[in-house]
Assembly symmetry: C2
Homo-oligomer: 256 residues x 2
């Protein structure tokens, strides 16, 4: 197993940092090959701009999508972006670990997706039949992804009827709209709640749940998001009337 671990926490001496160390150790002990992108340690550039695209960026109006596609095709993307593409090509499994900030990713990780998931690579890829390859198909199809979160919120508040919204709904733009969009099979997230207030016993329980999830990385069932081109959506990419009839909301995009 080739595992790429993307870590987006500013402080290695944090709960998140300890869990990252635990995770890497666990994976290596079970014989996996592991590589890491520690975004803060790498001083990862978070913001997309013309500098990312080399000579593909003209001095005229910057159109991010098409320019990124040109730069990807011609090898003009920034070296840091190309290095991440090489890691993604190598990996069969990718872990995304971050503290939940404002119910989403820290900017440095959002910027990893903004800069690495360029057009022609992670989106805007045509299939032979003219449909776009996305949601279960695409460059990253066949790879597995898992989100590992630390969150200050108590568990009930990110549960099904908790005030913050259910964690799967909060992660929908990432898990469905980004990872599944690009073709990855997404395992259920692991969320460690009550960060900054964990006792040694709670830490050990959190570490054990992480170890357990890592042991079963290759056998867990992914979240059953519907495939765009599997027959569930019509030509306008709207869910067919007979599926989840009369319903809307995030839940309709899960099969069964």
């Amino acid at each position: 197993m080739n595992v790429l671990w993307i870590f987006a926490h500013p402080e290695p001496r944090s709960l998140g940092g300890s869990l990252r160390d635990e995770g890497l150790r666990t994976l290596r002990a079970q014989g996996a090959d592991v590589r890491e992108s520690d975004l803060y340690a790498m001083k990862w550039k978070a913001v997309v701009d013309a500098d990312d695209f080399g000579r593909a960026a003209s001095t005229e109006r910057l159109i991010v999508g098409s320019t990124s596609k040109d730069a990807f095709r011609t090898g003009e993307l920034g070296e840091d972006i190309r290095a991440e593409h090489e890691k993604l090509a190598w990996a069969d499994t990718v872990i995304f670990q971050f503290p939940l900030w404002w119910y989403g990713m820290p900017a440095i990780l959002k910027g990893w997706f903004d800069r690495v998931f360029v057009k022609g690579f992670a989106y805007g890829v045509q299939r032979p039949d003219g449909r776009t390859a996305r949601y279960g198909e695409g460059a990253l199809a066949g790879k597995r992804a898992m989100v590992v979160l630390t969150a200050g919120a108590p568990e009930a508040t990110i549960g099904p009827r908790g005030v913050n919204g259910e964690i799967g709904d909060l992660l929908f733009p990432l898990q469905h709209g980004t990872l599944w969009y690009a073709g990855m099979s997404v395992l259920p997230p692991l969320t460690i709640c009550g960060a900054d207030r964990v006792s040694p016993e709670q830490y050990e329980a959190a570490a054990e749940s992480l170890r357990e999830r890592l042991r079963t990385l290759s056998t867990q069932d992914p979240i059953p998001f519907r495939r765009q081109n599997g027959g569930d959506y019509d030509d306008a990419l709207v869910l067919r009337d007979e599926l989840a009839p009369g319903r809307s909301g995030i839940g309709v995009h899960l099969a069964g």
Copy 2:
């Protein structure tokens, strides 16, 4: 009316840039005072780190929440962050305009929230009764917010049963989990679809819908998110059984 316009697009000569110009012009013509944070033009620092917190950041482990609170209280926050606080204090209405990237904000805007919405200001504020002031209460209560989006996706695909998920669900972490969390009343978003492919007629229609929304900024009904401390949630901050009984998902957090 004091309107702060937060703009997060790398290219002023874009559809987004034209709409921003149109919006500022419209507001000024109707007598509003307008200020702007053009994040790319300001070269806004997107990534939270110890440099944000001056002397409040020790050389020991960085705990972002408590350190940001200390720095906020002692006036040690970075000058760029304090300038945004001053603008927010001045504004009664804030527009957040961005291109939808991976079903969320560009990293530069996420980093604006990560760095500006510090503890003690936008979260972690106690009420006299010991409950935390959030979701309809807090530092920004009484102010209005509106999201203005440009998106490449066709409109049906971000509709109620569209493959990408409904736009209100995709924006829930921002509109509910960030803006409403900090107390702001959130108006329905304005989404301009088909960016990069708009004809002059489509542009004029988009500009007119923006102008119309800006004319009615102070009279539109906000999204009816439930208040945390209004009686709908129990002491564990879980929605009471008798409200939206048996249901879960983002929709349960809207009243009525």
